[in-house]
């Protein structure tokens, strides 16, 4: 059909593989032969796995990356439709419980190349320097085995590789600026700015968000269609599917889609030697590898380790500390909705386009530690209906009436830090999935600090909504962004991996996704997951064959590689003072 923007579309069948409206995947993909040993088998192609595979491939390693879901062709597979996008989410069986059970499914993680970055809203704030030391500073949670300074250069890399649009000056945490210009406001962003301004709260308008505000290379700019959480068919929103996976393939990595890894195999000398997986036809196969990296998200990563229990690791692979699956975190993600007299039409513009981190840090005047952010969100009709069910108990004619008013509502999201608790965890349930593998059972309870933070935070967000001029303000409880469950630390007794993602128990087994985060701050985790992945990559690259041949742990931090970015990313964008980067 003809399109006012892009000219004639190619017909979907038999035509090039599309990654967004313009970018095609036209390099042939290397395929390793059956039985061939590779350097790295990576499980998962999401935020962590996608970036890691790209870097390892660029550095010349032989890499196979598995994903349980499809290799999306965005033209052929994706739709501008809420219900029709259900396939993007991880919807295999799972069980959820505890005193505050987490909604999973579409609320949590993805399945398919690109992982959850396919359906993330693409808010890309950094953690604050304080987030790395909350135990020392506030006596809660745990300190990271890293400093903000260790991660900062990787944030700068990722902000160019996605790239991130945002204001020239971002005042919170470690103040910094963004390489690409901020986005225009939609109705929800306008409301956030109005409300914050009325209360004297600074607000960041138009980002930081991994969405193009102007076209770059083969990626068109955002067209403000509001379907980010359904996958961006345009290719304006960053996902590892379109930002890093193509470069991984161009550099020789093999992406094995529709392949569910069932078990990491332990060989001799307490070293792993590959992974078992169910291929697209359902047969169980084995891939031999010199080292294995798990990047399957905070539920599937611990599940895979637990399912890989074997002689010597009866409680799960790399679980001598009994920490695998524990300290699972989710952020408080309450949605606050306000009805305005004037229409808002919140379905336009990306859901993610303005935020404030004014309440991020611990404030001694409050009766809880740590803090929260306030962000724009833009539920489409089905999500909005579900929110009204929770927020107002709406059903029947009452639900119909509220939805008839859909265009008058705006919504903000609370994003609050929930502390790590040992009892918040992923375990194996008795029931099995379609492969016969025990499914994950997720248990989640709020602690005292968490409840106080949520109460304060949601009231503050409601206050902002009122100040924006809303006549009626309601809210629903919600939790988002699972991280943790295989945390990093210096002490092998209380953590699963060291500060380079290497499991304490097994020298050639690594974890490279959100699971390794010891605490989460009030920043959406994606950018941090990617930055940690780039850092882990630099370590693996400099270690080279030592990873494959020796159990010795070199704890030396490696120099940053500025030559591994996908083409035309690093060094582009607005010039900013980056003196400390000149090497």
């Amino acid at each position: 059909m003809s399109s006012p923007l892009f000219g004639k579309f190619r017909s979907p069948d038999g035509k090039p593989h599309m990654l967004g409206a313009m970018q095609t995947l036209d390099v042939p993909m290397h395929r390793y032969a059956d039985g061939e040993e590779v350097d790295y088998a990576i499980v998962g192609t999401g935020a962590g796995g996608g970036v890691l595979a790209q870097r390892l491939a660029r550095a010349g390693f032989r890499v196979v990356t598995f994903d349980a879901g499809p290799f999306w062709d965005t033209e052929r597979d994706w739709v501008s439709d809420e219900k029709g996008s259900h396939q993007l989410y991880w919807t295999n069986r799972r069980v959820t419980g505890g005193s505050h059970p987490l909604a999973l499914g579409e609320n949590n993680s993805g399945q398919g190349v690109g992982g959850s970055t396919v359906h993330w809203a693409s808010f890309t704030p950094r953690l604050h320097p304080s987030d790395f030391h909350i135990h020392s500073l506030d006596g809660v949670g745990v300190d990271w085995p890293l400093d903000y300074a260790d991660v900062r250069p990787y944030y700068e890399l990722m902000e160019l590789e996605l790239p991130v649009s945002g204001p020239a000056y971002f005042p919170w945490g470690d103040p910094h600026g963004y390489p690409y210009g901020a986005h225009p406001m939609g109705g929800v962003g306008d409301a956030l700015i109005r409300g914050c301004t009325a209360l004297g709260i600074p607000v960041s308008a138009g980002g930081p968000v991994g969405i193009l505000e102007g076209s770059r290379a083969d990626r068109p700019h955002c067209i403000y269609r509001g379907f980010c959480i359904q996958g961006c068919k345009v290719g304006a929103k960053a996902s590892t599917l379109i930002t890093h996976v193509p470069d991984a393939i161009a550099n020789g990595a093999e992406i094995r889609a529709n392949c569910m890894v069932s078990r990491v195999a332990l060989g001799s000398n307490r070293r792993v030697n590959g992974v078992f997986y169910f291929g697209p036809d359902g047969r169980e196969l084995f891939q031999k590898a010199k080292a294995v990296v798990i990047a399957g998200y905070s539920i599937e990563t611990p599940r895979l380790l637990l399912n890989s229990a074997c002689d010597g690791f009866e409680n799960g692979l790399a679980n001598s500390s009994d920490t695998v699956g524990r300290y699972l975190m989710a952020q408080a993600g309450n949605v606050v909705l306000g009805r305005f007299d004037q229409p808002v039409r919140m379905y336009k513009a990306p859901p993610a386009h303005a935020l404030t981190e004014e309440f991020y840090e611990t404030d001694p005047k409050r009766d809880f530690a740590r803090g929260f952010a306030i962000q724009t969100v833009g539920p489409l009709p089905i999500s909005f209906a579900k929110q009204m069910m929770s927020a107002k108990g709406a059903w029947g004619w009452g639900l119909r009436r509220l939805l008839m008013d859909y265009n008058h509502w705006a919504s903000f999201g609370l994003l609050g830090e929930i502390l790590p608790h040992a009892e918040n965890r992923v375990q194996l349930a008795d029931e099995k999935d379609q492969f016969g593998l025990p499914v994950a059972k997720v248990t989640f309870n709020l602690g005292d600090n968490d409840k106080k933070l949520i109460d304060f935070g949601k009231n503050k967000v409601m206050e902002v909504m009122h100040a924006a001029g809303a006549e009626e303000v309601v809210q629903e409880a919600r939790y988002a962004h699972l991280v943790g469950a295989a945390r990093m630390g210096n002490d092998p007794q209380t953590s699963v991996v060291d500060r380079f993602g290497r499991t304490h128990d097994i020298a050639n087994l690594f974890i490279c996704d959100g699971s390794i985060m010891p605490t989460q701050g009030s920043a959406n985790p994606g950018l941090t997951v990617m930055s940690l992945a780039a850092r882990i990559a630099d370590y693996l690259i400099i270690q080279g064959n030592a990873i494959f041949a020796s159990d010795k742990r070199d704890m030396q931090t490696s120099p940053i590689r500025y030559d591994l970015s996908p083409p035309d990313t690093w060094g582009h964008g607005m010039p900013r003072p980056v003196n400390h980067l000149v090497s």
């Binding site: 399109s3 994706w78 959820t96 513009a349 539920p379 029947g396 119909r400």
Partner: protein
């Protein structure tokens, strides 16, 4: 005591200005003559295919028995009433729920205190039927609308008067949320519902351009508001939170947002 036999005379929302019931009509709501489907030539091919399939092909009933399907129809007619829509523009809900359960699809996860969705629906329907018999001495299908609503309101309030053996196996508020969720997921997936609420629908590759002040695109229409009231006698027009949670944090939102 409610008269359980007679049918209600009119189940349609009322126009307070005239006191007359509204409809049946093609497009309820405040956006008269707005049709998202008119824009289909501006949608990408895949989106058009998926949405037209939803509109044109109503799936056959394969999971529920005919009796169960009829019962669920009556339940959904109160959970997401469509009495103000003309027959040509009623939105099929039960066939879509049936399809989901037949294919055993959905969000994949279940609450630890809940059975899997298939079982939950069967148990829920049984409980509804038992409660109808217990209080009114007849099946749910044969109840007057008001009595049907009383029964569903009891589930909403987590105060079922019967079928306790079933509600012990399945928390009533979770079943109620599941039921409303499935109805809403299908009703608001339909272009006719988009017309009702003034949602622009798919906008790729064309884009939205008027981001400010809630303005309609050139091809959308302005809202034309009037007072709208649910049917006078209906119990579902009021808002009270779904009961049965130990505390306010216990009923997490299920839609992904940020």
């Amino acid at each position: 005591m409610t008269d359980t036999t007679a049918r209600d005379a009119d189940l349609r929302p009322v126009d307070p200005a005239t006191g007359k019931p509204l409809g049946p009509m093609e497009t309820p709501g405040y956006y008269p003559r707005y049709h998202t489907l008119d824009q289909q030539k501006f949608w990408d091919a895949k989106t058009r295919e998926v949405i037209l399939d939803r509109v044109n092909n109503v799936p056959p009933i394969r999971f529920f028995t005919p009796e169960q399907a009829r019962l669920l129809e009556a339940v959904c007619a109160r959970v997401l009433p469509q009495d103000d829509r003309d027959d040509a523009h009623k939105i099929p809900i039960v066939p879509q729920i049936d399809k989901r359960l037949y294919e055993d699809k959905g969000d994949g996860y279940r609450y630890e205190d809940m059975p899997p969705d298939r079982e939950a629906f069967i148990l829920g329907l049984q409980a509804i039927e038992q409660m109808a018999q217990e209080r009114f001495g007849r099946g749910f299908l044969d109840l007057r609308t008001r009595a049907q609503e009383e029964l569903l309101k009891a589930l909403h309030d987590a105060e079922p008067w019967g079928a306790h053996d079933i509600w012990e196996r399945m928390p009533v508020h979770r079943f109620f949320m599941l039921l409303v969720k499935d109805c809403a997921e299908n009703y608001y997936a339909h272009p006719y519902a988009w017309d009702e609420i003034g949602f622009g629908g798919p906008a790729y590759p064309r884009a939205y351009m008027r981001l400010e002040r809630g303005q309609p695109e050139p091809w959308e229409v302005h809202e034309r508001r009037y007072e709208w009231e649910p049917p006078n006698a209906s119990l579902s027009g009021e808002y009270e939170s779904v009961a049965g949670q130990e505390e306010q944090y216990g009923s997490p939102g299920q839609g992904g947002t940020h």
